[in-house]
Each structure stands twice: as C-alpha cells, then as structure tokens.
C-alpha cells in the first residue's frame, strides 16, 4: 500500500477524533452525556477491528487487499485507544469490572501495537537474508540440511579416513543442526548465531587436512544457511505468534464490552 494512502488514513482518523473530542467537550459543557455516543462508537470500532479477523477467513471475497485491511486495522486500533480515553475520561476507571475491561483493552492495544511493529519491521529483515522460506516448511528444510550435513560428514570420513570432522559434528554441530537455535538472539536482531558458527568451525579448521577442509567448507555453508533459516523461524514465529495473545484478548474485550453495553442500557439509560 502506498505511503500516501496510509498517511491519508491516519490524517482522516486524527481529524475524526479531533472532531469527536470537540463534540464531546461541547456536549459536556451543555451538561449532556457524551459517553453514550463515544461508548457506542467505541464498541462499533472494536467490532470493526474484529472484522479484520473475519476478512482473513474470507479471502475469496472482493473486500479489499489484506494490506489495506491491516493498515485500517492499525489506524482503527489507535483510534480506539484514543476513543477509549475519551469515553472513560481517565486512564484508569473506578469499577472493578471496568478496570478488568481496561486491563484487557490495554493488553489488546499493547499486543496490537507490538504486532504491528513486528509486522512492519521483520519482513524487511527477512528479505535482507536473501532467502525465502515458507514457515510451515522450516522443519522439512532443517531436516534436509541435517541430512545433508550428516552425509557430508560421512563422506568426509569415507574419503579421508579421519574422524576429526565427524567427532566435531557429533559433539558440537549436531546440537546446532538438530532444531532452530538462538531464537531470542535472532528475534532481537543479534548475531550470536553467526559468532557461534564462526567460533565452532574455526576451532576445528586448523585440525583438518586439505581433503577434510573441503568437506568442512561445505558443512560451514550448510551452517550459514541454517542460520538464515533460524532467523526466518524466529522472525516468522513472532509474526505468527503475537496474534495468539492479541486475538483471544480482543475476543474477551469484545465480550466484556458487550456486557458493559447491556448493563449501561439497563442501569443508566
């Protein structure tokens, strides 16, 4: 989506909120009760944000691109936070139920903002790795690399009669190839995995003869490739895991908000 369109969305949201805040202020000055309007609007916005999840389940319908929906979701989410403060009139409400609602709303907001940052920042870094990996195939890719690595080590032993590389693989590298490693380091953009590979391959390099060294180089190339897959795994995991908190919390907030709306209608309107 073009940045100009995104900017327009944010501007429209900001203008809409400013108008709403002004209207609420005016209503309050006239001793009216703007929370009715802001409350219903907030609930409508939250339902609208929830439709994003529904939209993802209906990709066949011509309802606009996923990027547009994501941007709308982000703009709507920030709009909802501002509207929440406008509606409640405070950062922290009084009633225990409203406090629970606020806690969950803030958690949804936090996970949403964090998710948006993840969604906006990791794809760029994934592209920078120069490879493409489908998340669901990462286990298979890793298995392929592991098999290939074991074959290299076996070939090295057969060819050179030396078990130096084989023992190093068994004692050290096998741990690395067994499954994705350095998850947190990758997620935070660290280079711990590269250092680990460099250190553990360099440490054995001087013990290898020329024939073994050729296998060593192949194995190292595999390790560097796995590093990239590990990064993909970490990055893609985060992009897929954050909705595990965001969506259930959002559903809980919607349920609480719906009950809140019913109570307000029964008790106060």
């Amino acid at each position: 989506m073009r940045s100009r369109q995104i900017a327009i969305m944010w501007i429209v949201a900001a203008v809409l909120f400013a108008a709403l805040a002004y209207h609420a202020h005016e209503v309050r000055l006239r001793l009216g009760n703007p929370v009715i309007l802001t409350g219903y609007l907030l609930f409508a916005v939250m339902v609208g944000l929830g439709l994003f999840n529904l939209r993802k389940k209906l990709p066949m319908l011509p309802l606009g691109g996923a990027t547009t929906w994501l941007e709308l979701h982000a703009v709507g989410g920030v709009f909802a936070i501002a509207l929440f403060w406008l509606h409640s009139g405070a950062l922290w409400p009084n009633g225990p139920y409203e406090q629970l609602l606020a806690v969950l709303f803030y958690l949804v907001s936090f996970t949403g903002i964090a998710g948006y940052i993840i969604q906006r920042s990791y794809p760029r870094r994934l592209t920078q790795t120069g490879i493409e990996v489908i998340y669901e195939r990462i286990p298979g890719e890793l298995a392929d690399l592991r098999d290939e690595g074991q074959n290299i080590v076996l070939a090295c032993t057969d060819e050179t009669g030396s078990d130096t590389l084989a023992r190093h693989y068994t004692e050290t590298l096998e741990w690395f190839f067994r499954r994705p490693r350095f998850f947190l380091n990758h997620a935070l953009g660290g280079r711990g995995s590269e250092h680990w590979v460099r250190r553990n391959f360099t440490s054995v390099e001087r013990l290898l003869n020329e024939a073994e060294h050729r296998h060593w180089e192949k194995l190292r190339a595999l390790a560097e490739a796995k590093n990239k897959i590990d990064f993909h795994y970490a990055a893609q995991s985060l992009t897929k895991w954050w909705p595990l908190s965001h969506v259930p919390l959002a559903a809980a907030v919607l349920a609480l908000a719906l009950w809140h709306l019913i109570l307000v209608n029964v008790y106060a309107l």
Binding site: N94, I134, Y135, L244, P248, A251
Partner: protein, 643 residues
Amino acid sequence: MIDPERFRHDRSAYERPTFPYRCGRAALWGKPCARGPNIDGTCGGTTECAPFFKDDRYECRRPRTAGGPCAEGPLPDGTCSQQQPPCVPRPTLRAYRGRLTLLSVALTVALIAAFLGLPPDGAGTLTSVNPGPLSGAHANFTKDRGCVACHEAHDQGVRGWLKAAFSADDLDQQCVTCHVFGGPANLAHNATFPGRADLAETTCIMCHTEHKGEDADISMMSAAQCNSCHKLKAPRFASGHPDFGPRFPYQERTAIHFDHTRHFNIHFEDPRYVDRAPQGCVSCHEVETAEREVRPAGFEKTCAACHAKAIPRKELVVLNLPEFTENLIDREDVLEACGPTLEALDSLRDRIAAMAAGEAVEEEELEDYESVSWDSPTAIGAYLLGIDGDDPEAYQQPMQELVLAMATSGAGPLAQVIAERSDPAAPNALLAGLSPETAKQAACAWAANLEYEAPAEAEFGGWYGDGTEIRYRPGGHADPVVKAWLEFAIAAAAGAEDEEDRSRAEAMRNQLLSVSDGPGGCIKCHAVSAPSPTDGQNAAADVMLNIEWTRPGATDRFYTRFAHKPHITLLGPGAGCRACHKLDETADYGKSFKTWDASAFVSNFKAIGIATCTACHAKGQVREDCQLCHLYHLEPAFKKGML
C-alpha cells in the same frame, strides 16, 4: 530455499496452514511426510500414498514431491507398500488461536456470571454491575437496599432488565425521594427564568455522576459548564466575572440605624463613654457563630450600656383629659360611680357642722365650669374615638362619655373602643398591665374635672395616671406594649376607612413613629420600611409599613453563598474585618433612615469590589471556581424522612 524452482507446483507441496493439525514429525523437527495429518487429528502418513484402483489393478499415487511412484508399488490388497510408523499430529497455530479465543470468551462469560450472583458485599463488589464505589453519603444510605435504591431494574430479573434496556431510565425519580429544592427539580436552577423558555429540562445525572469513588465530589462543575448557559461568560473569577456593583454588599438598608462612623469617631472617643466603648468589631459582632453574616450580638450586649436608660424616658400617652367647654357629665352619675370626692366630703362635713351649730346653710352654688385641662386629645384618643382633636365642641361629648364610662367600669370601655377599631384581641396586647383601678381613678378625677393624683409614679415601668393623662412607661428594650401600639398605629393607617379617619390614623402613626418623640425611642434605631422601594415617605397613607424589629437573614440571596468564618480564621478576627469592610467617613448614613424606602441606602462602608476578593481568590492561590460562591440549586434540602 533460494532456488525459486523449489516452489514449483510439482516440486513443492501445497501447505495448508488453515488446517487444524500439522505433521507430528515436523513438530519434532523431522522431515514431515507428504500426506500430512488427517482432518480428525490422526496421522495420515502411515503410508506414503493411497493407491488408486484403475483397470483391475492398483496404481501407486505417491506425489512427485515425495519422489513419485515407488518401485515396489501397491500391495495386492491395495494398500501402500511404503509403510512407516505413525506420528502424533499437533494442532496448528491457527487451531491454538481458535481454542485460546474460545477459552478466553468462555472465561469471561463465566467470570461475569460467577460474580453477578454474589451479594453486594465482599466478593460481590467485583460484580460487573458495580461500576465503582459510590460517594460517601450515597454509599451510606444505600447500604441496606443496595443497587435497587437507585436502579429499579436491578432485582427485576431478565424480564425487568429487558424492559429497562429498551426504555428510558428515570433516575431522577429516585433522587427526589430524598432531595428537595425550592422549585421544580427538572428545571435549570430549579426555577423559571423570564425570557428563557428555551431552556431545556434538566436531569440530575447531567451534573452528578455517581460511582466515581468514595471521595469523589459529584457536584463539581467547571466554569466552562456554567458559561455554556450563561450569556455573561466568566472563564475565571479573576477575569470575566462581573463586578459586584457600586453598593455591594450594602444594597439593602440595615435594620438598625447604627452609624458606625459617628460611633467610632465621635461617641467612642467621647471621654464620657470611652470606658463603655467596644474594643473592635468583634466586641459587637459574634464571630463564634459567623456564617454568611457576622451578626451583632443583641441589644443587651451591644447597646444597653449607653442606650438602655433612654428607653423608659420615652413614655406613651394613650389617653388624656382634653379641654372641654362645658361639663356634660352629670354629677350624680359621677357620685354614683366614684363616690364623693374629698373636696365634696369636706364641704358636706362643713355643712353638717354648720347645721348642727344652728347656722344657716345656703344652697351650694354651682361654679362656672372651667376645664382643668387645656390640652387637645392625644392622637391615639382622637383616632380611637374618631373625633376632631382641634374642635372641643365636637369631641367633648364622646370624650366625656368615655371618661364617665371609665369612671364607672375602669379600663373596659377603653378596651372596647380599641376592639371596635381593631380586633377583639388587640386590647390584650395594647393595654397589657393596665390596672382597671388606675383607669377608674383617673377617669373619676377627670369626671370631677380634677387632675388625677397618682399614689406613686411607675418607677419600674408600666401604666400610671398622671394629672390629665394615662401614660405608659416602657420597661426596657423590646417592650411588648409599646411594640403593640406601634404596630397598631401602622395597621390603623393602612386600614383607614375614609379620609378623615386616615388623617387621624396618620397623625397617630406619625406621632408613635416619631424618631424624637416616639414611645421607647424605638424608631430612633429600628428602621421603618415601606414594602417596596417606590413607596417612600410620601407614599399613600394606606401603605403597610414594616418596623424592622429583627435583622433580616440573608437567605433571600438565591444561588450565592459566602462564609465569613474561613475569612475570619485566616485574616484574624480583629483588623481582618477591616481588610474588606472599610469605613466610608464621607457617607451620609443617617439620611437613609429619613425615608421609608429601604433601597435608598448609603452605607457606612465603602462598597466591596471584586478586586478585594481576587487579591486572594485567583489562579494559583485560593479556589476561584464558580461553585465556591454560587449554588446551582435553589434551596437544596433533604426530605424530612431522611433526617
């Protein structure tokens, strides 16, 4: 990986992340099988393909991505020859997300339901219908009845809730079960304002929002909210608030004519009185009970030391013996009513002695009548009898009839005359304490054309006869008889029947309300006011005047409040008063009391300007919000049942 050819349809399996399960081998970082788990969560990869029966034989259908058809081919019974142990498929992220979502919604609903049924106390305070603690006062009175004290639908079950959800809730009805106002509760300021028919009805919850916490001030309003209705906008007290006016707060004349300037500058400096002079404002004004006003202590504490002795000196003359041109009273009647006088007894004794001595006794000659009094009737007497006091020919008959009646019956005939001009109960107050014997003896003397010689003067106050007058000496401050006569005179002038009657009533009223000669000297201090400022001294005589016996309260100032106490506490009771109340030594205070128009008032003190208040009540100093001085409601109170 890097090679895009890897993703060709014949080299790359089609991933289905929306499926609820994923391969268990992949979950353990092994090579996932090509077939993947079944939809029910069982392993679908125990064989590498599902052979297809075609043309009487089974064909291997292993996908090309998994290596294509195997060399062994299907077994004769149609099963795949490439068997492998089953895995335990794991839910996909999508499945986990769905489960977590359902769980969170279920937990939420369970939580709401669990706390909904609990009583209001204890864990029940966590119930979803409690949007926060009530303010202190409301929390107390709702303790017993709970939510239903204000929210009728609370305990009415699902049907009641449904009804309440789709109908307007009128919380005001619950509010006014306890709160009452000086006007309709649903009107702005509980009143109707001329020319403001456009004002919409109000509700309590427009301003008072509950459930904001125990210490919440649920009546606080911002200046902007006040300004939204008021045409005159005052964003802050120090900027925008109109000035108090040139006479604030001394618009109305004081009830007591007390000239502060003359007392402070002349009387209290006089060596004769200096020892009795107050030491300051608080010597007379009671700061202990200060609220809106710092009321002066009573007469006894503040005035009596100098003025108490002057009151009895201003006596009331109710009735006198006026000058008559002829005696219309039969001597026999007087003799019958009063018995012989001392002079008559002496004369009789002399005649008997002369007769006993054999001397000739001549018939007693009647002397020419010469009235013992040269006075005119009192204004009270003239009014009561409806006589012209300047014409003896006209008044002597009714007056002498009254005298003879009093000589016969004491004070009764006088009371009867009063009752005829007022009401039957009036004599009780007007003649309270008048001894019938005093009236009779005085009347007897007058009937005999003699001056009455009282056995003693009314030294301690009360009724007594003196020569040709029946007088009343006030006993002291707030004498009820004098007070009754003053009010009788005012009522008489206001209720006069005709011009002559009005003239006589006015004469009586003016004499009794005289500042210099009025009985008790009451009017020297107590202001007399006409009911409206337009009714001045020259107003029609039938105006019902009001003697300001007591200092009027300040409750008639709607929507405003002022408390002296915190100011006195802060500024000090002495010189602190003068910080705001500054004497205006040039003001002609006394002039204000020469008229009955209370609004034509010049105070002893300079007007208090807004600058006096804003010296402290300004931003960053002391509170300056509207509600500090202004009340929204008109006469807010509680119903008796609440107290």
